[in-house]
């Protein structure tokens, strides 16, 4: 994108920098606005998305209450504006949801982690979104705010039921993502995040996988397996989770789990990888992780 081209492109007629949630959602309800926080997705597509769709640009970074990471009564709330660096450096998350900082550590580059927000990663609804994988494992809920009957109205949707296709979700046009919430995890759980691409940094995942489980005397419970970039949306693998639940790992069970996961993913060929390669990688990651668990 040359500077000349970027100037020739979009025509933004209004700019909003709301300083309250009321102001933000009322304006979103009123009009055709592109919402920007860190800009790391929107500005990349400035030649496309911004030109095509939007008359107004709304910067939500000054809306109070959308930042921060805090625990209340066993629930952890991450504000939509929390950055990947905030997640990476959070002592609370390291102790009570370690899969999130583990994922943030593999997210893009330092510069992007300093800008990219968790709300933006969800809003973009990429099948390969890194931060969605641990949130799926955590059974997170996405909080959405909108303007209804002259007041702010909020609802929550389970993230497992949030995405409907590449770039698509159940978020309605007038809704703003305000936070994600999930249960704080007790000590002793096992959590890992895997991701592959040709370069260690700044990769859009060819395949990603999140894995969480409790292991008690070799017996697995509370298993959460999520895969990215192997289906139209990031997905959980519920049948494989059921197969493993309450069981003790051995070679036979690992083999059956790999077969099961293979039936739950629906990868395609695209510019980043073939369906065959994605199936192969998903098996490799799950086997590697189950063997990590087996070997303690």
């Amino acid at each position: 994108m040359s500077e000349t081209a970027s100037q020739a492109v979009p025509r933004i007629e209004a700019y909003y920098a709301p300083t309250s949630l009321e102001e933000a959602v009322e304006q979103i309800a009123a009009g055709d606005v592109a919402i920007v926080a860190g800009g790391t997705d929107l500005m990349v597509t400035a030649n496309g998305a911004l030109r095509r769709i939007k008359r107004g640009l709304m910067n939500i970074r000054h809306v109070p209450g959308l930042d921060g990471i805090a625990e209340t009564g066993g629930r952890i709330r991450i504000g939509a504006l929390a950055t990947m660096t905030d997640i990476l450096e959070s002592d609370l998350l390291r102790a009570k949801a370690p899969i999130l900082p583990a994922t943030a550590d593999r997210f893009a580059s330092v510069q992007i982690r300093n800008a990219a927000s968790v709300g933006g990663n969800i809003a973009n609804a990429s099948p390969a979104a890194d931060m969605v994988i641990p949130l799926l494992c955590l059974d997170a809920e996405v909080e959405l705010a909108s303007w209804k009957d002259g007041a702010v109205s909020t609802r929550t949707l389970p993230i497992t039921d949030y995405f409907t296709g590449p770039g698509k979700s159940k978020r309605e046009a007038g809704e703003l993502i305000t936070a994600v919430e999930f249960d704080a995890q007790g000590a002793g759980g096992h959590a890992a995040f895997f991701k592959t691409g040709p370069r260690p940094a700044l990769e859009i995942a060819i395949v990603s996988m999140g894995f969480m489980a409790r292991i008690d005397g070799g017996t697995l419970s509370d298993i959460r397996i999520a895969f990215g970039a192997v289906a139209p949306t990031p997905i959980r693998a519920p049948e494989t989770e059921k197969l493993l639940d309450g069981q003790t790992l051995d070679d036979d069970l690992i083999a059956r789990a790999l077969e099961s996961a293979d039936t739950e993913i629906k990868p395609i060929d695209d510019v980043r990888g073939t369906a065959w390669y994605r199936r192969r990688l998903a098996r490799v990651y799950l086997e590697e992780e189950l063997r990590n668990v087996l070997e303690g």
């Binding site: 500077e3 970027s6 025509r11 510069q111 992007i112 700044l202």
Partner: protein
């Protein structure tokens, strides 16, 4: 043409004001409005780091930051590293170690290195390498760049 928006920021220690088109990136504003051409546009997608500047103490890809979001922020660019005492220790180390070839990535590399050293005075070699992951150089093979940043880090420690 897009709507123009008034912004006011602290730019390399001084107050700066401008009226910028709402669709511009911070990088375009820095280069075209404020005549600070150190930060470079290369990929325009956040993959290469040649546009790296420090905003409110955090290094960011200025090509991905909306110019309108500069309002109220404190921004440091490579031009702001020069003081009455001469160049920054990171710049000095780049010169001494021969870490510059074509120079296009250098302002971004130096600002990312400055950020890493500001954040962590006890930084390890491995942390320096990881911290520079978002900066691409197509000339040097990185060895001399990493050497320069390690040299600057050890000189400061």
């Amino acid at each position: 043409m897009s709507l123009k928006v008034e912004i006011e920021l602290t730019l390399n220690g001084a107050t700066a004001r401008a009226s910028v088109p709402a669709h511009w990136s911070a990088l375009t504003a820095l280069r075209q409005t404020f005549d600070l051409a150190g930060a470079k546009l290369a990929c325009g997608e956040g993959e290469c780091g040649s546009c790296t500047v420090i905003v409110d103490g955090e290094s960011v890809n200025s090509c991905l930051m909306p110019a309108v979001d500069l309002n109220g922020r404190t921004v440091r660019t490579v031009e702001g590293l020069w003081t009455d005492d001469g160049v920054d220790p990171v710049q000095r180390a780049f010169i001494e170690k021969g870490a510059v070839q074509c120079g296009f990535c250098t302002p971004g590399m130096i600002m990312q290195a400055r950020y890493l050293l500001d954040r962590n005075s006890d930084i390890t070699d491995a942390e320096i390498r990881r911290g520079l992951e978002g900066n691409v150089c197509r000339c040097t093979g990185y060895t001399k760049i990493v050497d320069a940043v390690i040299t600057a880090a050890r000189a400061a420690a």
